[in-house]
Symmetry: C2
Subunit: 398 residues, 2 copies
């Protein structure tokens, strides 16, 4: 029906490079939580933004304290008691001072603070027993952040620890990527719905809900359109509806062989088939098509473990690309715990169990659910590598 | 006003051990995403749940193939073609076979599958050229998961990769912890709202929104009641309202000294003060009180970095305890990049920047926002340790 086109993950990465990033939108700062920035953010202000005292004491002009000592104290007139969070009412002139608490704002005419233990109060006069230098005990107005410092970068994901910074800068609106909308359709006559009772040998549709939740974890909006039987007319109209309502459609294919041809046919009818296989194991029966309006259809393999691996390590690259975001996989270097042979020519994603800081492959065959429970990470083995020996250092994706 | 009570983190952990976990509720499986299990889950079924073929071929009784070879093939009557996802219609008797695709269900009367390449079709008869042993090319009904295997444990957080397993087991309703409700109140005359313009030397309320979002990240429901000025009557009535509507109230204190006495007084009026200081740095001015109905008030320090550290490394222990959940901190062993001295007697939480796989302390003083941006992790230094030397191995929390 179409030219055989099985591509490598390298070719996949090249292919998605040409796809346009998703558009932006402007949101209120409190709505930016969990969103991806579409702009670099530079500080519009200095933080704290004013000179403040690092101690409890008296704000003075340092030159007035020159040669002050216990035997020869300087005598200063007290102008006022400055309060936290309020501007000083009085400016200082020569030999004047104001009481200032830690964090208080330095008054005009002062450039330093004498610590309270180096002073004595006598009536309305303050005796200063120690000289201070310029800026002594003073926190500068840009001590924390300087105006125009780069604070966040395009592609950063906003989490709870980032919010206080954005708020402190006085930012009110931020430019973020709008959320990608994904429609998930489960296909296959052998699938039954979550709500049904198990009916051997039919199998529960677990891929559809997985894809819908996984897309949500990656900051997309997802909708599951349920299970559609292998009926060309119904499936085509459901895909059309989902395409109209979303940016991407995920077809979670059944595991039967006929099923793949079927989704391939529908993708070809509604758009242009970009590839119909990935040279990876597991996950070969993965399809992708381009439709008008920068919309895409992805056909996932039916085997649950393959579906999970293809989503997490391949299709998430497309989502990150659309968001202009760096990958969110963490790597851990571990010692490989046994010998593992792999044939050349296909990239392999091996489920890993970690024990005593060593990585052991989980021997799976057709199992999927038990692997998902036991799996601590995935080891990607490049196509030209023929396996690993016990004791090799490997880089496990978690 | 109350007996001085500054406790260690060890005493804090002992204190919360006596607090009852939050109640459970029963939810539909699709609503269990992101929730914490309140039960161990054992598999109620075998997965796949039926004997199926690992190859395309013919289902037979193995004893009928005894001594079959190319020169002496066995001759079998073809009963039917079994389809994926459907039960076989026919049972097999002696010298009968059925066509079976990979994944198809084995019919009664068969215990093995002959691969298609080891057979020949002649009319309605199948010539079998090779003997098979019992269970050959057959995937057993509990190959993936056995009935009564422990699948998930109380305290597990349900994420996208767990959902397919729950679904496949046919689980429809799960027992989860109900979500903890947290009311956040910001206090302090020096605070101004996110929506206001910066008004030096007032500071933006960043702790309130941080705590509300951080609690959401930890699977709680949070509501921010805004900024309440240092007015006893208004603050008391706001705390009462928040206590009535939530399980816990977070008071995000201002940084002024008077502020702390104020929240301490209100906690004492509405309940029993459990402690009014933690012997940690930063984060000492942390308060906790117990109110009727297993409800708690936490007073956080006003310094944003201290507030973040107290939430992430202290109060999250209380939330995990209420949920019966293990801690969600990941640790990374790194080489310490310089010499760092700390005084004995207080546990210290040091902000860390990671560079070239080495951990460097971020020298902060009163800075907070710049630390939050640069911080890659936190190093907890126990109270009796006097610092670390360049080259020491340290365990950084991320």
């Amino acid at each position: 029906m179409s030219m055989l086109k099985v591509i490598s993950t390298y070719e996949f990465e090249k292919l998605i490079e040409n796809i346009h990033e998703i558009e932006c939108e402007f949101v209120d700062i409190l709505d930016s939580y969990g969103r991806i920035l579409d702009e670099d953010i530079y500080s519009p202000v200095n933080i704290p933004g004013f000179k403040r005292s690092a101690v409890d004491g008296y704000a003075v002009m340092s030159r007035d304290t020159y040669l002050c000592s216990e035997t020869m104290p300087g005598v200063f007139n007290l102008k006022e008691e400055i309060e936290i969070g309020k501007k000083p009412n009085e400016d200082l002139s020569g030999l004047e001072c104001s009481y200032i608490p830690t964090g208080g704002m330095l008054p005009n005419g002062a450039d330093s603070v004498v610590m309270i233990e180096d002073t004595e109060v006598i009536g309305n006069e303050i005796f200063v027993n120690k000289s201070v230098s310029k800026n002594e005990n003073v926190v500068s107005e840009d001590e924390d952040i300087s105006k125009d410092d780069k604070i966040f970068s395009k592609g950063d994901l906003m989490l709870s620890t980032h919010m206080p910074v954005l708020i402190s800068l006085g930012v009110k609106v931020v430019k973020v990527k709008r959320q990608i909308k994904i429609g998930v359709i489960s296909t296959g006559d052998e699938l039954i719905d979550i709500k049904s009772d198990i009916e051997v040998p039919k199998i529960k549709d677990s891929n559809g809900p997985f894809l819908a939740f996984a897309a949500r974890e990656d900051r997309c909006i997802s909708k599951h359109y349920g299970i559609v039987k292998d009926d060309e007319e119904i499936l085509t109209s459901t895909v059309k509806k989902a395409l109209a309502e979303n940016d991407m459609v995920f077809l979670s294919g059944g595991s039967s062989a006929g099923n793949k041809d079927f989704t391939e046919k529908i993708i070809s009818e509604l758009g242009e088939l970009m590839f119909h296989g990935l040279s990876i194991k597991p996950g070969k029966p993965t399809l992708m098509g381009r439709c008008s309006g920068n919309k895409y259809i992805i056909g996932f393999p039916g085997h649950p473990l393959a579906c999970m691996i293809v989503y997490k390590f391949i299709i998430s690259k497309l989502i990150n690309h659309l968001y202009g975001k760096k990958e969110n996989i963490t790597y851990q270097v571990l010692e490989f715990g046994e010998n593992y042979h792999k044939s050349k020519g296909r990239e392999e994603y091996l489920a890993i169990r970690i024990e005593d800081n060593k990585a052991y492959p989980i021997h799976a065959k057709s199992s999927a659910m038990s692997v998902m429970i036991k799996c601590d990470g995935i080891l990607k083995i490049d196509r030209d590598i023929e396996g690993y020996q016990k004791g090799d250092k490997v880089n496990v994706m978690r």
